[in-house]
């Protein structure tokens, strides 16, 4: 049991999952910009090139459409590639290969082909990187049938979800909030799988359910502490996967608490928060004491200046205020 107590960063946990799967399955490779000798702009591929070499850790030109087309083709040919799109902002550049090819090939072939790939990409706001390096664009691919989406909040989940994603026979988009890269936590050594589509209750509570994704789980936990001081017991549920969504766990929690707030780092309007709110409103309608609420980023591009970008990140204060409103 002592082994599971070791603490490593979320970034290290993702790398560990990839390395373990690459050792297990020679039909895997990693491809992206500056992912080889440079080991990624956030050191998020540290050690992979040293261990697996040029043939399996491949640097590309600044050519997202090209590298992603390569990835889809290799996956259909039977490999299990992991492709890195440096920021989710650059998903814009791979949309045709993603939406019109990767997502549909299996279905339209009548099941004859599989597209087992992982698209790894960074989301999140911080460090004044500006409007095209700070977006959280997971709502877009979530709308497209045929794509799975995972978004870990803890190092252990990061390892388990990446392992599951690589072994999945479908295209899986794996979103990491770059502001959580250095977050440390216990991570099991050796094989560790977190099945896609299984939520996790990060904190038990009885008065309100806070449903949060990725880095927002930590905002929710902070809010839960603040609410506890006010005598409100908040349950924090982390869906971990956006598609498939563990509706059963979410609805069950909200049916117990009677209240819910969904917290999402993407833009609030037309975002995944709206989808989750609608899902739990329908599923737990008979138990609700208040409308299900959402918190997300405001409806403007992410500005560069520090105070401006700070207002793009949902805060624990906002969560507390929303919950207090439910109590009128």
């Amino acid at each position: 049991m002592q082994q599971t107590e070791r603490q490593i960063s979320l970034k290290a946990a993702v790398i560990e999952a990839i390395a373990e799967e690459f050792r297990r399955d020679p039909e895997t490779f990693y491809i992206g910009e500056d992912v080889g000798v440079a080991e990624g702009i956030f050191k998020q591929t540290q050690g992979l090139h040293a261990e697996f070499g040029d043939r399996r850790v491949i640097d590309t030109p600044i050519s997202e459409a090209g590298m992603f087309g390569l990835t889809v083709g290799a996956a259909v040919a039977g490999m299990r590639p992991v492709v890195e799109i440096m920021f989710s902002d650059f998903l814009t550049l791979v949309m045709d290969q993603l939406v019109n090819h990767a997502a549909k090939i299996h279905y339209l072939s009548g099941g004859g082909f599989r597209v087992p790939l992982v698209l790894r990409t960074a989301i999140g706001v911080g460090g004044v990187l500006g409007s095209t390096h700070s977006q959280t664009l997971y709502a877009w691919p979530a709308h497209v049938p045929g794509l799975k989406l995972a978004a870990p909040s803890t190092p252990a989940d990061a390892k388990g979800l990446m392992t599951a994603a690589i072994r999945d026979d479908n295209p899986v988009l794996y979103f990491e909030d770059r502001m959580t890269y250095n977050l440390k936590g216990p991570v099991p050594e050796g094989e560790h799988i977190v099945e896609l589509g299984v939520a996790d209750i990060k904190r038990k509570g009885s008065d309100v359910t806070l449903i949060a994704f990725s880095r927002m789980v930590h905002v929710a936990l902070e809010a839960a502490d603040a609410l506890a001081a006010k005598g409100i017991s908040a349950e924090v549920v982390d869906p971990r996967s956006i598609v498939p969504l563990d509706t059963e766990t979410l609805i069950d929690s909200v049916a117990r608490t009677g209240r819910a707030v969904v917290i999402d780092g993407g833009h609030e309007s037309y975002g995944i928060g709206a989808e989750v709110a609608a899902t739990v409103s329908e599923g737990a309608f008979d138990y609700l004491d208040a409308p299900v609420m959402r918190i997300g980023a405001p409806h403007n591009p992410v500005p560069c200046s520090k105070p401006l970008e700070a207002m793009m990140v949902p805060s624990a204060d906002q969560v507390v205020a929303k919950v207090e409103r439910m109590y009128g």
């Binding site: 050519s63 403007n300 560069c304 200046s305 207002m311």
Partner: protein, 338 residues
Amino acid sequence: MIDSAQALAIFESMLLIRRFEETVIDLWATVETEGHRHVYIGQEAVGATIMELLREDDLILTTHRNHGHVLARGADPGRALAEILGRADGFNKGRGGSAGLTVRAAGFLATTGQVGGGIGLGIGAAQAQKIRGRGGICVTFFGDGGLEEGIGFEAMNIAALYSQPVLLVCENNSVGVTTGRAQNEWSSSSMAAETLGDIPRALGIATEVVAGESVTDVHEAASRLIGDLREGRAPAFIEMRTRRWPGSRSFNPQLVTGVTDLDGVWDPASVTGEHADWINRYDPVIGYGRDLFRQGRISRSEIVAMNERVCRTVEAAREFALASPLPSAESGLTGTFA
């Protein structure tokens, strides 16, 4: 031959860019630490010379490496620096930052950090100029990496098909980069083509390869091609090859070559140290200063006076930018729609 007034204007513009970028690097070491910035050191001859050749109604697209272009076009250095520092008085209210600094009044249509994105926007600007028919052109600046994205191919094909008045200025600042990846500096120049102009040439676009450190060479090629564009022979592509400045880093450029010492203009022996070769052979500011000094077009005392003038301008810009407040968070909630 560049006339003397124009030559001195270009040199002063280059010196302004150099002192400004040195200040940007210093501010990030002392005042601001977060974010990324891409400086124009080593490429001053390209931007300063081309801007000198443009008309007021010409349109310009630039990239994350825009500071030199913006200054050479005459934009206020104080407001530019305020933008880079994310301040309320910046040209874009702090929303764009270093990589997004743009000045519509100076003819910039957009500044985009999306690699290659400007090549696509530039053909729209060029089409507008063509439709208006007043002889205006579009100049699109992009790096060597800009050609790695697919948009460049599509846009150049359309530019050629429609005979657009667009000058495509590919600033290849990766010449000499061999160990970049090991230094955690981005690889860049990952093109299968040895000469980048081979790509547009296949589409029938006129192409040139120019030593981007040389004002004389940049001026010769750019003035000729811009003249062609205004007469309807279009489009054109110049690969401006510049030797990578040794202080270039992906996030935090380092002033490894030191604050530029203009003694190197009249006293080449004063240039010493690890980076003397880059300064002597590839520093466009020192290089053009030496040209003008040797030709007797500028004296030592005139260079000293010019430098003092430029440094005063940059110091005033620094004071203005640092005195400017950060924008309030609420101010960022406005302006999503026109």
